[in-house]
Symmetry: C2
Subunit: 412 residues, 2 copies
Amino acid sequence: MSEKLIGSCIFGQSGGPTSVINASAYGVIRAALDAEEITKVYGAAHGIQGVLNDQLYVMDEEDPEELRYLLHTPSSELGSCRYKMADPEKDDTDYKRILEIFKKYNVRYFFYNGGNDSMDTCNKISRYMASVNYECRVMGVPKTIDNDLFGTDHCPGFSSAAKYIATSCMEINKDARVYDNGMIVIVEIMGRHAGWLAASAALATAYGSGPDLIYLPECDFDMDKFLADVDALYEKNGKVFVAVSEGIHYADGSFVSEAKTSATDGFGHAQLGGLAAMLAEVVKNHTGAKVRGIELSLLQRCGAHLASGRDVEEACNAGKIAVEKAIAGSTGYMVAFEREINDGAYRCNYTLLPLSSVANYEKKVPMEWINADQNGLNVDFINYVLPLIQGEVDIPKVDGLPRYAKLKKVLA
Amino acid sequence: MSEKLIGSCIFGQSGGPTSVINASAYGVIRAALDAEEITKVYGAAHGIQGVLNDQLYVMDEEDPEELRYLLHTPSSELGSCRYKMADPEKDDTDYKRILEIFKKYNVRYFFYNGGNDSMDTCNKISRYMASVNYECRVMGVPKTIDNDLFGTDHCPGFSSAAKYIATSCMEINKDARVYDNGMIVIVEIMGRHAGWLAASAALATAYGSGPDLIYLPECDFDMDKFLADVDALYEKNGKVFVAVSEGIHYADGSFVSEAKTSATDGFGHAQLGGLAAMLAEVVKNHTGAKVRGIELSLLQRCGAHLASGRDVEEACNAGKIAVEKAIAGSTGYMVAFEREINDGAYRCNYTLLPLSSVANYEKKVPMEWINADQNGLNVDFINYVLPLIQGEVDIPKVDGLPRYAKLKKVLA
């Protein structure tokens, strides 16, 4: 046990929101409010930008009951950011400002909830504070629907998105097979470099109502092979259901969504997102079939009404454990998840991973979990993802609609 | 009470599927199996096409427990169709064939579940059977997410779609306001001629997390006024959330989704569905803001996991009552819903409406429920829709995923 460190704490949310990032917020805030070592709990408005701009909400002013609603409120309630910090060795302007704010509020604990970039931010702040001998314990709380963080079995946010994607694909599949004429559906799922989310559509297939074909960014995409895959199934069944990751790319690395072909003139957006519409057009021109492109878009990352109960619990615990470990003396770590299976029963152990080892490394779906034709997942992937989507949430409702947290957000 | 009519029955599903059309199927099938007057219960494969093609599934062969799963299985489990029948006075080919099949199986009851076109089909079959003196009681069971059937307070399927749309809009709104830079989101909702579904997004706004602007096909769309509406809010808040019905049209009647403007070259599809992407492009070019177009697509009509409990119950009752009333002697009617409010408590009364009065008439959102600026709904609409979305469903699950009905579908 290290020496007791007394002072206030700042908590921030960063990167793309998820269904459960506010559950981690609740874990951090509740534990920090309860800790006698922590004198005041600040929530940064829009992550590190709120620190730089001196925009801090006093969490001690919030009603405890209202804070509990964070467990089932999607998105980032304190606001998020995508601010990239410079290397402190090259440009320490931001770090000097952060130090100034930390001193102003006697901040001795900093908790940051986010993905790869956020862990990098965390790591840089941690190093800088050490270099100037300012005692502050810095802990990262993982978050990303992309599930691409290194060194953790999975990431809070992914499991709920996976449950949403699997359930929605089961429903879409039912709808897409209703007429006796031909029909092809192409669903576009998030994930620019790692295919964990699109792969989760395989759960729908494993449970009897899902895509026939799934394409991930882990493999090079081949348009001719894709069309041949679709042709074969369309000829056999008259119905084809395809799931694609937004990040599928050709062998030369260029995103399929960015490519301009004769069939896609006018659709070649630089921005990702129009992939389903573009592929639908290509497939329609190729087969003459009725084709519908569907983009799950923001829905898949904010569908808190269909969150995984286990995800909510783990996300909250990750925040709580970050606080407990920091108080006990840890700094420079991210909370990570370790899977333990005993007699078939899943258990999540919480470990600490040095921030320097996790930052800026992207974990992808193992090639051995992808089938030989590179258009589907095998049982090893199902075994990996299935425990994560277990548990139903009973979200608070008013008049049949979700009741979200309403924070006062009193500025410091 | 009419004379007892003994014979078999055929049940069919028609038109676009919904989250609860199988709940009506369960209502019909269960009541028909339980009725001593009905000797055999057939389900038509793909609606009236299954009758014409002599493709009938024997419902008596199904496991009763498995049939119960229909209550929470989205889409049309027996298959649907969009087959338009000729006027029997002009071309009676199909009707002669239907009569042949009815005689072959001694069909004395015909139940058809669908929207406007299906009630028209029902009406024509009813008239034809009377004209050839073949005794057969024909009853329509209403269904349509579009909520545009005449003479009924609302339609099974609409309430669940409304609940899905309102909840999803609440979640999207949370996600769309997370960064501190500008953001405009445009959500496209189904409804080609009537705006009931897009209007339901107003529930999200009424409960604190919904669209700022809603445009319905009940009003002529004016692109300049739309852009001015968006501009005003973007300038004020930096965030704008817009919901549009797929059927919005200009004063000359042309669909906005079909229009080609300089900003939308390449997006002018003849097919509806690309509206969100097209409007996003227009708004992006106009404002320079980050704009995201989201189409709720099939998700909104098959999201059984988020169905309205009241809708499931009413849909099932509608089917059950159609059978009971037919056995009691009624024919040529559609089951309709009548709203009764006593001391604030909602109650649904089931009535019968002559098929001839309901067929081919589209009910629209009353103009007096739309605000003066024609970009939102007022409290009268909220009061109308709120009771319909009440009640949560507890859908059967296996391993955290929906468990749907698995019918044997034994052919007659």
